[in-house]
């Protein structure tokens, strides 16, 4: 059975001018514009009722990948498949309809709500636009959503600026749920919240996943958050997925040197003070990524092969994939 969502060899460039643009630039003597490969041929699948965590440092392309998954950014290369059907081949109307099954929750809870709409308008609009419920039932649906996300219906008449960050994020989650999606892409949904609120929102995510049989693509730079919610975790570095494994396997027996470094750098309660500088040097510029394995300039174990050949994904243990020559 095909997975709920499959990103098949997707890549995305930014900064590539159109044909007219590049002709003009050459004519004016500007030379070619520099191109960033934000996402570089990534394959990742999310199954039904599965939570896939996506970790990586800032700028590694994880948000771009999430937006490709949610249909907000078209991939430059590769295919997005929902239930095995390639999205790019569908007509605009059908595509819009089928991408409703993939919704998104954003990092900045406050900015993700239109300041000119009340909470009621925000939650009613998808039902009205897509005629998802008879007029008489819409208010009940909204009330039911409010109950699920744990907010009193009194909040319905509020403006977004009258809500706290956590409340805004709950509304953002409710809005994603209005269209009854199968998969929710969560782009750093708790990073902007207080730690105490983070725990509440994470609990809410887990409750909703069980009661509504949801799948998540859960993007975060916070390893402890990802460890807690995910079934499977993928680690991204400079636009590529370097390691992907079930959560226990990845955190217990990391195979890729980057994952090892990432885990070692994460602070843990009770751990002794360790040497923090596990990885040497700065992250290379994404405009000009290193040849071969992207991680080799900083890798403590790099050998000559790593400088020349980009490693393929290999299964190092059942379900545990790693893109490293030495794994």
């Amino acid at each position: 059975m095909s997975p709920l969502l499959l990103l098949d060899e997707v890549g995305r460039d930014f900064g590539s001018p159109g044909a007219l643009g590049s002709w003009l630039r050459r004519g004016l003597g500007h030379g070619e514009r520099r191109i960033v490969r934000a996402v570089d041929e990534v394959t990742i699948a999310v199954g039904r009722q599965e939570v896939v965590g996506l970790v990586g440092e800032s700028g590694c392309g994880k948000s771009t990948l999430g937006r490709i998954a949610a249909g907000l950014i078209a991939p430059s290369r590769g295919e997005v498949r929902v239930d095995g059907v390639a999205i790019a081949g569908l007509s605009a109307a059908v595509r819009r309809r089928s991408m409703l099954r993939v919704q998104m929750v954003f990092q900045s809870a406050t900015a993700s709500l239109n300041p000119r709409q009340t909470v009621r308008e925000i939650l009613l609009e998808p039902l009205r636009v897509h005629r998802l419920a008879p007029r008489a039932e819409r208010d009940d649906r909204v009330a039911d959503l409010m109950r699920r996300i744990g907010l009193h219906t009194g909040f319905l008449s509020r403006d977004p600026h009258q809500l706290s960050g956590g409340q805004c994020q709950r509304i953002g989650i409710a809005r994603a749920l209005t269209v009854a999606p199968d998969l929710v892409v969560c782009d750093e949904p708790v990073s902007a919240l207080d730690v105490s609120i983070q725990a509440q929102i994470l609990n809410l995510f887990q409750d909703l996943q069980e009661s509504l049989k949801l799948s998540y693509l859960f993007i975060s730079h916070d390893l402890s958050v990802v460890e807690r919610v995910s079934d499977r975790v993928a680690v991204m570095y400079l636009g590529r997925i370097v390691e992907e494994a079930p959560v226990a396997s990845l955190f217990g027996r990391p195979s890729h040197p980057y994952t090892v470094a990432l885990l070692a750098a994460a602070p843990r309660l009770g751990a002794q003070r360790r040497v923090a500088a596990v990885v040497k040097g700065e992250r290379p510029s994404p405009y000009n990524p290193p040849a071969g394995c992207h991680f080799h300039p900083r890798c403590p174990r790099a050998v000559e092969l790593c400088r020349r050949v980009a490693p393929e994904r290999r299964e190092v243990a059942p379900g545990h994939w790693s893109a490293c020559h030495l794994a």
Binding site: G18, L72, L100, M104, F106, S112, P115, E125, V179
Partner: protein, 290 residues
């Protein structure tokens, strides 16, 4: 609209100049709307004017005892009534033109911001070209092509004013569409029209409203200029600009009132609009709130 409601008290409780401006503006609009009911005569109904009362100075009375507050012109028309009817025409032309220019400019600005290059560059370079020439010059050329008349003046003003709205809306929309609520709207499968006009546009209105009021003043001025030059509204329904032009030949023969009073009205109208625009601008900008 809720935001405008919150801004109104601050507008009213502003400094003395903007309070005076608000009163002047309200008076002008009231006078224009109520002109047929409050004026002592309809200056363009030949049955109501008396040629024997021509060139009467201000504060004189007619044979029937009617007060010529601002005097009369060469035909015996009451200048005060002519000003009220002129205001009516000036404001109607300016407001119609502004409405059209806002609709066109807003759509162009939103489209430029949302669809990006190459449409953005194309539309903005056209707007640059329009803004590079003096507005009156473009309007004059257009009227030379189209001929004169109120409807042509409206078209000409729209043609010289859409670019200011397009630029304003584009710059604000660029900021707004980077916010996540726009992505959320797209993710929920809303149509492009809904994203543009229901989600992005309402969040651009605060900035747009400031430009609108200043541009209405500019529209009144352009119309007055065109009418003064004889290319504007028809002679049967003179606006403020045409009243000024009509009285102009008599200025040096001591009959100043035919030009001075319509001119003063125009100056005060433009002043109050600009002062209000300034006040609205600082009310819309949180950093300038006192």
């Amino acid at each position: 609209m809720r935001a405008a409601g919150r801004r109104l008290p601050r507008l009213l409780g502003g400094d003395a100049i903007s309070s005076v401006a608000l009163v002047l503006m309200a008076g002008a609009v009231l006078l224009a709307v109520a002109a047929p009911f409050v004026c002592p005569q309809d200056p363009y109904d030949l049955a109501q004017i008396d040629i024997l009362d021509s060139f009467v100075p201000p504060f004189s009375r007619s044979g029937a005892g009617m007060l010529y507050l601002f005097g009369t012109d060469d035909q015996g028309r009451d200048i005060f009534s002519a000003i009220a009817f002129g205001l009516r025409i000036s404001l109607a032309v300016a407001l119609t033109a502004t409405l059209g220019a806002v609709a066109i400019g807003t759509s162009i600005g939103l489209a430029a911001a949302y669809f990006g290059d190459p449409l953005d560059s194309l539309l903005m370079r056209i707007a640059d070209m329009q803004l590079a020439f003096p507005a009156v010059l473009i309007a004059l050329m257009l009227l030379a092509l189209l001929g004169s008349g109120s409807d042509k003046v409206v078209v000409a003003i729209m043609a010289v004013q859409w670019a200011a709205y397009a630029r304003t809306v584009r710059s604000v929309a660029l900021v707004e569409q980077g916010k996540e609520y726009v992505e959320a709207a797209r993710c929920l499968g809303y149509s492009t029209m809904r994203v543009l006009f229901v989600h992005i546009l309402p969040n651009c209105l605060a900035a747009l409203s400031v430009v609108v009021i200043v541009q209405i003043a500019a529209a009144v001025l352009i119309e007055a200029t065109l009418s003064f030059l004889g290319l504007g509204v028809p002679i049967t329904s003179p606006s403020l600009g045409m009243l000024i032009a009509n009285g102009y030949p008599f200025m040096l023969s001591g009959r100043f009132w035919m030009t001075i009073y319509p001119g003063l009205t125009l100056v005060l109208l433009i002043f109050s609009m600009n002062a209000l625009g300034e006040r609205l601008r600082s009310a819309a900008n949180p950093r300038e709130r006192r």
